[in-house]
Symmetry: C4
Subunit: 222 residues, 4 copies
C-alpha cells in the first residue's frame, strides 16, 4: 500500500521540518547567547572600573552587530522554512553548512572586540568578521534558491511572491562586499555598517509582510 500510491500528498513533503527547525533554532539561540562570553574586563580593571567598562565599547559594538546579524539570519531562516512545503536531503546539508558559519560567528566577534581599538591588526579583524557574515548570508540565499529551484516551496506560492523574497535576501550581500572593502580603510565604519545591514534585514518590508499574511491561509504546522 505504501509504495503503491507514491503520488499522494504526504510523499511530497520529503522529510519532516520539525526537528530541522528545532535544531536550527537551538544553534541560532546558542550562538547568539554565547556572544556575551567574549566580553571580558582586563585583570587590572578594579582600579578604574567605570573607565574600564567604557573602554570595552568595541566589545559592545561587536556584540550588538553580531547579535543583530544572527537575529537577522534567524529571521530569514524562519521566513524561508515558513514558505517550504518539504525539505530534501540536500537542503539539510546546505542548512548544516549555514549553521556551521552561524555557530562560528562568536569567534570573529571576539577578534573584532579585541583588536578594533588597536592600530595595526584592526583591518584584518574587521575583514575576517565581514567575510564570515558574507558567507553566512550567501548560504542563506543559496538555501532559498535551492528550495525554489527544486520546487520545495509551497505550491500555492506564485512567482511574484518568490521573487520578492529573493530580492529581499540579495542586496545585503552587495552591502557586505562594499563594507569589507570599506573596512580595509576605516574599520570601525565597517562594523557599524554590519549593524546597519542587520537592521535592514530585521526591519519589516511591506511586500514581505503582505506575503507572510497570505501564506497563513494554509493550516498551521506545529
Amino acid at each position: 500500500m505504501t509504495n503503491g500510491e507514491p503520488t499522494q500528498e504526504p510523499v511530497q513533503r520529503g522529510l519532516r521540518t520539525g526537528r530541522l527547525e528545532a535544531f536550527s533554532d537551538g544553534v541560532f539561540a546558542i550562538a547568539i547567547t554565547l556572544l556575551v562570553l567574549d566580553i571580558a574586563l582586563p585583570a587590572t580593571a578594579a582600579k578604574h572600573l567605570l573607565r574600564s567598562l567604557g573602554d570595552l565599547w568595541p566589545s559592545y559594538v561587536a556584540y550588538v552587530a553580531s547579535f543583530g546579524t544572527i537575529g537577522a539570519l534567524w529571521l530569514g531562516h524562519n521566513v524561508i522554512t515558513e514558505y517550504l512545503d518539504r525539505v530534501d536531503a540536500v537542503f539539510i546539508r546546505i542548512n548544516l553548512l549555514l549553521l556551521l558559519f552561524v555557530a562560528f560567528l562568536p569567534f570573529p566577534t571576539r577578534i573584532v572586540a579585541d583588536y578594533i581599538s588597536e592600530q595595526s591588526p584592526e583591518r584584518v579583524a574587521v575583514t575576517f568578521y565581514g567575510v564570515t557574515f558574507l558567507l553566512a548570508a550567501t548560504l542563506l540565499l543559496v538555501l532559498w534558491r535551492y528550495a525554489v529551484r527544486r520546487r520545495l516551496v509551497r505550491p500555492d506560492m506564485n512567482d511574484e511572491e518568490i521573487d520578492l523574497l529573493t530580492q529581499r535576501l540579495t542586496p545585503g550581500l552587495g552591502g557586505y562586499l562594499v563594507l569589507i572593502v570599506a573596512g580595509l580603510f576605516i574599520p570601525i565604519v565597517a562594523v557599524i555598517g554590519y549593524l546597519a545591514v542587520a537592521i535592514y534585514y530585521i526591519v519589516p518590508s511591506r511586500g514581505l509582510t503582505r506575503l507572510i499574511r497570505r501564506k497563513l491561509h494554509r493550516p498551521q504546522r506545529s
Copy 2:
C-alpha cells in the same frame, strides 16, 4: 482568493508565534544556564577550599539574583505570548531587543560577583547591573504595551484584564530605579533588592492567576 478575503481569521494572526517562542525560550534558558560559568575559584583556593568557597558568596548572591530576574522575565514573556492572538514584524524586533539584554545579563552578573566585595568599584558594578535589569524589564513592558496598542492581543480579552497585566509589569520598573539609586550608597542592599524584585515578579498574584484561568477557555495552541 487569498487577497479577496482579507478579514478572515488566519490573516489576522500575522506571523506564527511557535518559532518566536522556541527561539526566545532558547535564549532565556541559555542565558540563565551560562550564569554558572562566571562562578570561579581563584587559583590559590586549594589551601583553604572551604573558606574560598565561602568567600565566593558575592558570586552566589549575584547568581541567585540574576537567575531569579531572568526567570521572572521569562515568566512575564510567557504570560504575554499567551495573551497574544498574533505577532507582527515590529513585535519581533522589540522581542529581539529584549533578548539582546537578556543574553547580555551574564556579563554584569560577573562584574557584580567580581567587585561587590571590593571597596571602590562596587558602586559602578551594582549600577551597571541594575541598569541592565531596568532596560530588560522596560523592554518587556514595551513589548506588552505595543501588543495592546496594535491590537495583537486576543479579541476576547477585556480592558480590565489588560490593565491588570500592565499594572503587574509596571511597578518593578520603579523598584529598579529606587534600587539603582540605593546601590550608589549601599551596593549590597541593591543586589538583595534585585532578588526581591525578581521574587515579586515570580510570586503569583491573585488577579493574574484568575486571568490566566479565564484565558484558557480558548483552544490550546501548541
Copy 3:
C-alpha cells in the same frame, strides 16, 4: 460566559505545560553539555599528553557522575510532568528553584574534578558536590509532592500509582545523605556512589514502567 462556567475542563488545566517543559528541557540540556567545558588540560600537558590525559581521570569521573545525575533528574522531571493534568503558579516557582540547582551543578563538578586527587581539600569538594545533588533531588521530590497535594495530577491516577512514583523518588535522598557522610572519610567512594545513585534513578523499575504504560491511555498532549 468565561466566569459563569468555572468548573469546565479547560479551567482546571491552569497554565499550559508546553513552555515550562521546553524551558526546563533547555536548562537541563545546557547544564549537561556545559559540564565538558570544565575538563581542561594543564598548560604543561604537551610533553606527556597521554599521561596528562590519564591524569584527568577525576574530571572524567566527575563528568560521568554529573552527567548521569542531571540525566536522572531530567528523566524524573519528565515522568512528573507526564503525570500532570495542569501546573499552577507555585509549581512553576518550585520548578525554577529546581532549575537553579540543576544549572548550578557544573560548578561543584569543576570543584570535584580539580580537587579530588589532592590531599587536603578533597573532602570539602566532595561534600559541596553531594549537597548540591541532595538539594536538587529533594526539590524534585518537593515538586512531585506539591503536585500530588494540590491535585495537579491527572484525575485517573489512583493512589497506588502515585505512591509508586513517590517511593521511586525518595530513597535516592537517603543514598545522598549516606554518601555525603561517607565522602568525609573516603571522598572518591562518594563520587562513585553518586554515579551509582544516578544509574539507580535511570535504570527502569518494573512498577514505574507499568505505570507509564497505563498513563498513555490518555490522548497525547503537545
Copy 4:
C-alpha cells in the same frame, strides 16, 4: 479498565518521544555550538594577526570535522527516531549514553586543535579524538539495533527497509577503525578522514531517501 485492555494502540507506544527528541536536539545543538569556544588566539597574536589567524588552521579543521560529525550523528539520530513507533526505558538509557559522548566531543576537538601542529603529542591527540567518534557512532548503531531487536520500530517497516538503514550506519565504524590506525602514522590524514566520514554520513543515499519518503505515509507526529 486501563489494565484490562493491554493490547490497544496507545499502550504499545511506550514513552512519548517528544521530550526525548527535544532534549537530544538540545544536547546536539549545544555541543555543536560550543565547539567555537575552543578556537582561541594566543595572547601574542596582535602583532601579526593575519598570520596568527592562519596559524589557527588546525582549529578550523578540527572545528569543521567535529561540526560535521555531530551534524551527521544528529541526522542519524533524527532518522532513527523517525522510524520508531515508541521508545522504552532501555532505549532512553542508551540514548543518554550516546549523548554523554556527543556532549564530550568538544574536549577531544580542543585537544586536536591544540596539538595537531606539534610534533610529539599529535598522535595521542588524534587517537583520542578518533576513539570518541568511534564510541559515539557505535552507540548510535547500538541504539538502532536495540530498537529493531525490541520491535520498537513502526510495524509497517519491512525487513529490507530496516537492513538498508543498518547498512548505512555500519560502514562508518570500519572507517573510524582504519582512521584511528592511520592516525598513528599520519595524524593530519586521520583528521581529514574523520571529516570525510562525516560527509559520507551527511550525503544522502538514494535507498535511504526512498525509505524516508515511504515512511511519511503515516500521520505526522509533532
